[in-house]
């Protein structure tokens, strides 16, 4: 297995991530976020996560990013508001310190991570294998998840509805 596809997808997602947080215009940020999601989906494919790959494209690139873009367009943020969104590099200090602390904490463990085992079972990551897992061992969390999604739908509708008075 050559490393080239990994580096291509890793580069796509890393560049997309950096652009997402550094672009002034949230619409550009959302499009860069979609780029990151697609790069990550490619990585999932390399890791034999076929179901996760499809879900990543469908739910993230397809639904979440489109939802964000929809809201950006729906808000129709006026020009002065957008121009006020200047980037204050001075304020980058706490975030920079936090991420450097994370890097410091992870540096040593990263050196000792072993390589992947060379062989892998045939059905690994297929819809069938993951589906069996979801609907047997994780059936209860799955049902709870449906409740969570229902509550989120109702909550989103109730919140975003214009009040009558």
């Amino acid at each position: 297995m050559t490393g080239l596809p990994f580096y291509i997808f890793a580069l796509i997602s890393a560049i997309g991530a950096v652009l997402t947080v550094t672009r002034k215009n949230p619409l550009t940020g959302a499009l860069c976020l979609a780029l990151t999601m697609i790069g990550l989906a490619g990585l999932f494919l390399l890791l034999h996560g076929y179901l996760v790959f499809v879900l990543q494209i469908l739910v993230y690139a397809g639904a979440v990013v489109v939802l964000i873009i929809f809201v950006i367009m729906m808000l129709n943020i006026r020009e002065p508001v957008v121009r006020l969104q200047r980037l204050y590099w001075k304020r980058a200090l706490p975030g920079g310190v936090l991420s450097l602390v994370l890097l410091y904490l992870l540096w040593r463990p990263l050196q000792n991570i072993p390589d992947f085992p060379p062989s892998i079972s045939d059905s690994f990551g297929t819809v069938e294998r993951v589906g069996v897992e979801i609907f047997t061992r994780y059936a209860f969390p799955f049902e709870v998840l449906s409740l969570v999604l229902l509550i989120a739908i109702v909550g989103a509708v109730v919140l975003a509805k214009k009040s009558e008075d």
Binding site: G3, F6, A10, S13, A14, A17, V18, T20, V21, P26, G29, L33, M37, L40, L43, F44, L46, L47, H48, G49, L51, V52, L55, Q56, V59, V64, L67, I68, V71, I72, M74, L75, V81, Q85, R91, A92, P94, G95, G96, S99, L102, L106, L110, I113, P114, F116, P117, I120, S121, G125, V130, E133, I134, Y138, L145, V148, L149, A152, L159, A160
Partner: protein, 99 residues
């Protein structure tokens, strides 16, 4: 490709997410940073699932993706409500709870 490469990329994406979450004042970008962090964790989960030859990592990723979608929907509708009241998407303007 080694497992450590995937974990390093995951850590990098998480760092970028934290950085954006703390630094940016635009609520939309803050939400996107949260999505970025969730995705970084997903990558680590899938990589370790491959390492252990165990699909439970994929099951957890499935749950994380569903919860992230719910979080995005609720977060964006909260943003819409606040924008109607304040005409702003700057998190610095959202301090009614603090006052």
């Amino acid at each position: 490709m080694q497992l450590s490469h995937y974990i390093a990329l995951s850590a990098f994406l998480f760092m970028v997410g934290i950085f954006g979450f703390v630094w940016r004042r635009n609520f939309l970008i803050v939400l996107m940073s949260v999505e970025l962090m969730l995705n970084a964790v997903n990558l680590a989960l899938v990589a370790f699932a491959r390492y252990w030859d165990n699909p439970e990592g994929h099951v957890f990723t499935f749950f994380v993706i569903a919860l992230a979608a719910a979080e995005a929907a609720v977060g964006l509708s909260i943003l819409i409500v606040i924008y109607r009241q304040r005409e702003s998407v700057d998190v610095g303007d959202f301090r009614r709870l603090r006052e």
